[in-house]
Structures are given as C-alpha cells and as structure tokens.
C-alpha cells in the first residue's frame, strides 16, 4: 500500500456560506474536478440567521483536504471553511427502516432488537411500521444487518451532520466579517497560523 492510501481518512468539512442558488454546484465541482468522491453532504441553516452550513465528508489525506478547504473558502459566497478528522467532531446520521408490522407483532425478538438499538417507531400502520434510529454509521448499519432477515422493506440513511467540538459558533466571526475593515481575526488562515512550528531558522 502506498503512503498516500495509508494517510487517507475521513474528514469532516464544515463550510459557512451565504444561501445562494448555484453555490452547491460551485462547491461540488471543486471535488469532482479532482476526482474526489463526496461520501456525504448535508446543507442546513446554521446558528446564525441567513448563514448556511455545509457538512461534507470525504476520505482523503490531510494535504488534499487542506487544499480543497482553501479552494472552497476562496469562493466569493463562502465565509469560512473548517476541516476536522472524526475525533474532533460530534457527528450523527439518522436512518429509517420500514418493517412489516405483522412480523413485529408476532416476534417479540424484533421488538427487543429495536429497543436494544435505540430505535423509535415513527409510524405504525397495519401493513408496516417505520422505525428511526440516530447514531454513528456502525450503529445504523448494525440495525440494518439485524433487520435484514425479518423482511425489511425499505431503508434510508441521511447525510452526516457534525458539530466541531472546540468551536465557539459563528456569531462572533460573522460580526467580524460584516466589518468593512478586515481584522486579522477574519484574515486568519489556519495553516499560516501554525507556521511558527514549521518555520525554524
């Protein structure tokens, strides 16, 4: 295996943006141009009204992700981009499972499995029941595997959403961005800031 494939791992890219038509495409093509597959993509409002938030998951080396993050941040309508490995974020994915109701009712086993996996019934109908569970990929996958033999009708999983553990949120940053005169805080560049360690005479 090459060094590069060893260094590849999951990164969570968080981008704060304006809410503009066409921006999704502008961001997506930064990945596709470099033949990088987006594992998961979620867009949502952020804690700040009017500011949109992208959560993008890719499997890549840190160097590639850093360059990608800068390219995203360079787009006119993007305010700020962060990238973090999994250990730096709290993340969740949600999954829905549609199961025949008669099997649930007949087999106490299934109900127990659902309870053990923290699943919750969203809809109960005569013909089927929809369960929901939220967690890491392994957890939603595990329930999927467990339900498979019991006539699972349909399954869907959402994109990942992630919160950066040591983030102070975006309210303060946005105020800085709105000032006409830029401050060093806004002009910060994560890599440049860590240059003290890199540069030695």
């Amino acid at each position: 295996m090459t060094q590069q494939s060893i260094d590849r791992r999951e990164y969570n890219i968080t981008a704060y943006t304006e809410n503009q038509v066409g921006l999704l495409n502008r961001i997506a093509i930064i990945f596709s141009r470099r033949k990088i597959n987006i594992e998961s993509l979620n867009t949502s409002p952020s804690e700040v009204e009017g500011i949109h938030r992208f959560n993008i998951v890719v499997v890549e080396t840190e160097e590639v992700v850093r360059k990608i993050a800068r390219q995203i941040e360079k787009q006119v309508e993007v305010l700020k981009v962060y990238f973090n490995p999994n250990e730096d974020v709290i993340w969740q994915e949600m999954a829905l499972y549609k199961v025949p109701t008669d099997i649930i009712a007949e087999r106490a086993l299934v109900e127990r499995l659902l309870r053990e996996h923290g699943a919750r019934a969203v809809v109960i109908r005569k013909d089927y029941t929809v369960f929901e569970t939220t967690g890491h990929r392994e957890e939603t996958d595990k329930l999927l595997a467990v339900l498979q033999p019991y006539g699972l009708i349909e399954f869907v999983r959402s994109a990942r959403i992630a919160i950066i553990k040591d983030s102070q949120g975006f309210h303060h940053k946005l105020r800085e961005f709105e000032r006409t005169e830029p401050s060093p805080e806004v002009s910060e560049n994560d890599y440049l800031n860590s240059r003290d360690k890199v540069f030695t005479m």
């Binding site: 943006t17 304006e18 038509v21 066409g22 495409n25 502008r26 093509i29 141009r33 360059k67 800068r70 390219q71 941040e73 360079k74 006119v76 309508e77 993007v78 305010l79 946005l174 961005f177 709105e178 006409t180 830029p182 401050s183 060093p184 806004v186 002009s187 560049n189 890599y191 440049l192 240059r195 890199v198 540069f199 005479m201």
Partner: protein
C-alpha cells in the same frame, strides 16, 4: 445624431449625498440600467455581438453610442479575447456583450483563459425570458452552470431591480483581490422591465469575500531574515507584480537587495528586459541560467507567481535545496505546488515595501557572474544562430530581433500560442510593463489577433504588434473584419513556418518524427488581408525583412506582414516533459 437628454446617472458626490436625504429615483428599463451601471463603473469600451436575447440592451445602447464605444466583433470568442487584451494593456476591467445560447457558449474559451491568467472581465449575456428557463427554449443554454468552473463569480438576473447591485458586485469582484472573469446572465424580461432605480452605488464590501488579506508583519520579518542570510538568492516574479500595480515597489526591492530576478511569461516587462538584474525567462523554453540556477540557489523568492508546471518541470526535482519565500495574494497558491518556508500572504504592492525596508543592500557579484556565464553558453549554443543566422532561411528569432531594433522595446507585443510565442517572449525587448500580452495558462491558439485589437483600445497611444503563427491566425482570422470596420491600428506580424510548429517539434523529438496532422496549409494571407482592405506584404528573404518591418510600423493603419520562416526549426533551450529544470537541454 441622437443625443441622450440625461445620459449620466446622478453623481454620487458626497455633497449631494449630504444635501438630499432621499436620493432621487428614476424609472429605467433593465437594459438602460445596465448601461448606466457600466458608465458609472467608468467603462468606455465594450466588445460584443448582438443576438435575440440581448436585443433590449443593444436597443438601449443605440442611445449611448456617444458615451460607450461598442466594438462589433466577428465572433464572441473574438469579443472576449479582445476584452482580455483591453484589460491586460490598460489594467481596467474588460467588458463583453453576448447573446444567449451559442453567443454565451462562444465565451467559454475566453472565460477559461481569463480565469487561469487572472484577467478582470465582466461578461454580460442575454438569456431567454425567465418564464422560459428550463423549457429548452430557442437559444436557451444553462450558461451559469456551464461557466461555474471558469468564472470567479457568476450570477443570473431575472428581475430588473437586481441589475445595478449585480453589476456593482460583478465589477468589484472582477477587479479586486486576485482578478478574474465574472459573468452576469440577464433574462430578456429583466432587460425590458421598467423599474425605479436609486442612484448607482458601487460595491466596496461583500461580507463573504475578503480580497485583501491583512499583512502579517512577522512573516515579512522572517522572510527578510532568510534573505539577509542568503548567499545565492533568486527572485521569480509573475503577473502578480503587474496585477498589484507594484512595478515600482518591485524594482525598488530588486535594486536594493541586488538579487537576480527571473520572470514567468505573464510577468514579462514588469522589470525592463534590459535591466541588469533581469536574468531572463523561466520555464520549459526559458533561459538557461535561471532554470539551472533555480536548483542551485539557497533562497527562492517567488513574487506573484503560481509555480505552474511549465515553470517548474518535475516538482520533485525543483529547488529542493532552497528555502522558499512565497509572496501571493491568493492563499490557495501558497503550498499548492511548492512548499513555502515563509509564506507572505498579501498584496505585493503592500508587502514588497515592507520587505525592501528590512533587507540589506547587497550585490552578490559571484552569484550574478554565474548567470552571465550561463548566458554566454546559451548565446553560443542557441541565441547567436537564432537571432543572427547564417543560413539562407529566415528564423523567427531574427524577425523579433529586427523588430526590437525598430521599436526599441516601446511596442506592446501580443502573441498567440506555440513556437512563435516562445520566440517572441524570449527575445522581445520590453521597456515597459503591460507590454507582453499572451495566453499563458490556457495556451489558447487564436488569442492574439482579437487580443491585439482589444490591447490597442486599452492603450491607444502605443504601437501594438500581434505576433501570430500560421495556425493561430487561421483560428480567429475572421477578426480581420473587426479591424476593417473599426479601423483600429494593429500590426499583424505573421510568422509562417507552414507547420503547427510546436506540435511538430514534439513529434520530431519525442515521437520519431511521425508528423501527424501538423502540416497545415495556408491561404494567401496578403490577398485575404486585401479582401478586408488591410494592407499587406509577404517577405521570404533577409534583405527584404527590415524594410518590410519598417513599412509595417510606419504604415498609418493596420498592416499584415507575413514572414516566411524556416520550416523545421526547434525552440531551445527546452526542459523536456517529466524532467527537472536542472535537466534543461540546449539542443
């Protein structure tokens, strides 16, 4: 002639702004608002071609003919290359009009060229009525999505009231930070629609866009320490020096620090070619000394350049021994190709004076002697024969050499792409900045003729010479019609080697002389020119060359001079693909 009763938008002078609390609005069509916005941005020349979806703007333009000079081109690609030439010679934003569908898609090559070469453009395309979007209407194309990867910003306007703000943002984004092309797509209903418009407000701030980084003095200080300790420093400069209008600041830095400086082809002319510290051109067909010594310097100072692969050759054999200082306004360029020991992120007009302040005045006589020694080798092996050949046939180099003698380095040289481009860039004397206009990053054949037209509009007082090969000439030859109709004074110097020469050179050197489709036939260019009422001449011998060049330069209007040059000449030195700059070949 019709004169517009109140053509100028209400001036936004501070005193009037104070005097009237409520600024007067006026009712205009979207098309009129578009043209008012252009005037307010100081636009004097627009290159364009009309069509169905942009008819309302052209209709409004009829009333603005005395304020906006519209140059009718023969193809939209010619229009955008002309706007690029205008932007590059003047330092201002080039403006293009095109219609929807094919008009818009014909801009694509120019947009890609302008993005990679950081040229400020605002392209305005017409679009079908908003209610027809997505219906495959006549001449409808999704130009916003087509151009997303090749514009700095683009935006579709579907309501007239959005037009001033969209254009204000477009001009601000195009010219600020690292410049680039912007496309504004305006649906026909928005052009026709009437709305009440407040006085035009230029854009000075977009909260999500920070074009001007705050300079971090600690990095400037670190860079100065490195430079002051260096024994063999080398400066590489690129177009950033021109784009930042930092030619003076750059010259002061070079002259105080005494560091030899080499250029990328887009940086050419920022320091005159005759300056003693200008050690020549970088890259695949650059000069021998700066290429070889890139791999021997101890500190490499890159200023407003992006380490393109044509400059660096193989990256793992590029300047591995050197500490690298990289000055750039675009943070994505730092560490993109070459790792910087010290990044100096900022506008070089701002950072260079700070650096000049801190560097010691030095001269490096031994180090500079090494460049002179390599120059002597290159002159003996390549340049002497190229500029002063003894064979019967004319060389491209001697044509440029003779041109230098006549222009004395005062002309703007616009080049196309290929062998003649490398020869012109290597040998043209340039006394002034913004004198070398060429398609660098994208390598767009067909660029030179329309770009030269635009360059002349951008710098009317200067002589503009378009140096073009027989391949590139035939790609945009229709723009001779633009020259005919406008009477713009462009000197066309056609170097005809009867081949697609650069590809032929590669086929000769790397593909066993299998000349696959590089033998290109030409029309009788002088006759073609005459058809367009442009005076022309063809020369194929040495005694006729200089008189013909003089005739071209002294002719009162446009002139086409076709020079028949030797067919199978190769451009050397050359860094073969996949090799390091240290492996540059003299033959």
């Amino acid at each position: 002639m019709y004169s517009n009763p109140s053509p100028q938008p209400a001036p936004t002078l501070p005193e009037t702004a104070v005097a009237t609390a409520e600024p007067a609005t006026r009712t205009l069509s979207g098309a009129e608002a578009t043209l008012h916005a252009l005037l307010a941005e100081g636009v004097d020349t627009v290159f364009g071609y009309p069509g169905g979806a942009i008819i309302p703007i052209y209709d409004a333009l009829y009333d603005f003919r005395d304020q906006l000079n519209h140059v009718l081109v023969r193809h939209e690609q010619g229009g955008i290359h002309a706007a690029q030439g205008y932007a590059r010679s003047s330092g201002r934003v080039g403006v293009v009009f095109a219609t929807s569908g094919p008009g818009a898609t014909n801009l694509v090559t120019g947009l890609a060229d302008a993005l990679i070469d950081s040229t400020p453009l605002v392209c305005i395309t017409g679009q079908v009525f908003a209610h027809l979007l997505g219906t495959d209407a006549f001449q409808e194309t999704d130009i916003i999505n087509i151009t997303t990867p090749i514009t700095k910003w683009n935006h579709q306007v579907t309501d007239a009231s959005e037009i001033p703000e969209a254009l204000a943002k477009a001009f601000y984004i195009a010219r600020s930070g690292r410049p680039g092309p912007v496309l504004i797509d305006i649906t026909k209903n928005a052009q026709l629609q009437k709305a009440d418009f407040a006085p035009y407000q230029p854009c000075t701030h977009i909260r999500s866009y920070r074009p001007r980084p705050v300079v971090r003095p600690e990095y400037v200080a670190q860079a100065a320490v490195l430079i002051n300790q260096a024994q063999r420093p080398l400066v590489l400069w690129g177009q950033g020096v021109l784009l930042g209008q930092a030619e003076q600041e750059f010259r002061q830095f070079i002259e105080k620090s005494g560091i030899p400086a080499a250029w990328t082809i887009l940086g050419a002319g920022a320091l005159p070619t005759g300056h003693p510290l200008n050690v020549g051109m970088l890259g695949m067909h650059g000069n021998y000394g700066p290429n070889v010594l890139t791999n021997e310097c101890d500190v490499l100072i890159a200023i407003g350049m992006r380490f393109d692969d044509r400059v660096t050759g193989r990256l793992d054999k590029y300047a591995k021994q050197a500490q690298v200082i990289h000055l750039d306004i675009d943070p994505t360029e730092i560490d993109k190709n070459v790792k910087a020991t010290v990044p100096v992120w900022g506008d070089c007009q701002e950072t260079l004076p700070l650096l000049t302040e801190l560097v010691e005045a030095r001269t490096y006589p031994e180090w500079r002697q090494r460049f002179l020694d390599h120059d002597a080798e290159e002159i003996a092996a390549v340049i002497q024969d190229e500029l002063f050949p003894t064979s019967d046939e004319l060389t491209m180099g001697e044509v440029i050499q003779q041109l230098n003698e006549l222009t004395q380095g005062e002309a703007i040289i616009v080049t196309d792409v290929g062998q003649h481009q490398m020869v012109a860039c290597r040998y043209a004397r340039l006394n002034h900045t913004r004198s070398n206009i060429t398609s660098g990053g994208l390598g767009t054949m067909g660029f030179a003729l329309p770009a030269a037209i635009g360059a002349k509009y951008g710098a009317p007082a200067r002589t503009v010479v378009a140096v073009i090969g027989d391949g590139g000439m035939q790609m945009t030859i229709q723009e001779l019609g633009t020259i005919m109709q406008t009477g713009v004074n462009v000197k066309i110097l056609l170097l005809n080697n009867q081949f697609l020469g650069m590809v032929r050179q590669w086929q000769e050197l790397f593909h066993d002389r299998r000349y696959s489709f590089v033998d290109i036939a030409s029309p009788d260019y002088v006759t073609v020119a005459r058809g367009y009422r442009i005076t022309g001449r063809r020369v194929d011998n040495r005694p006729a060359l200089q008189p013909a060049l003089r005739e071209m330069l002294e002719h009162p209007g446009s002139f086409l001079l076709e020079v028949m040059v030797t067919k199978e000449n190769n451009i050397f030195p050359m860094v073969p693909q996949g090799c390091g700059v240290g492996e540059i070949r003299l033959k």
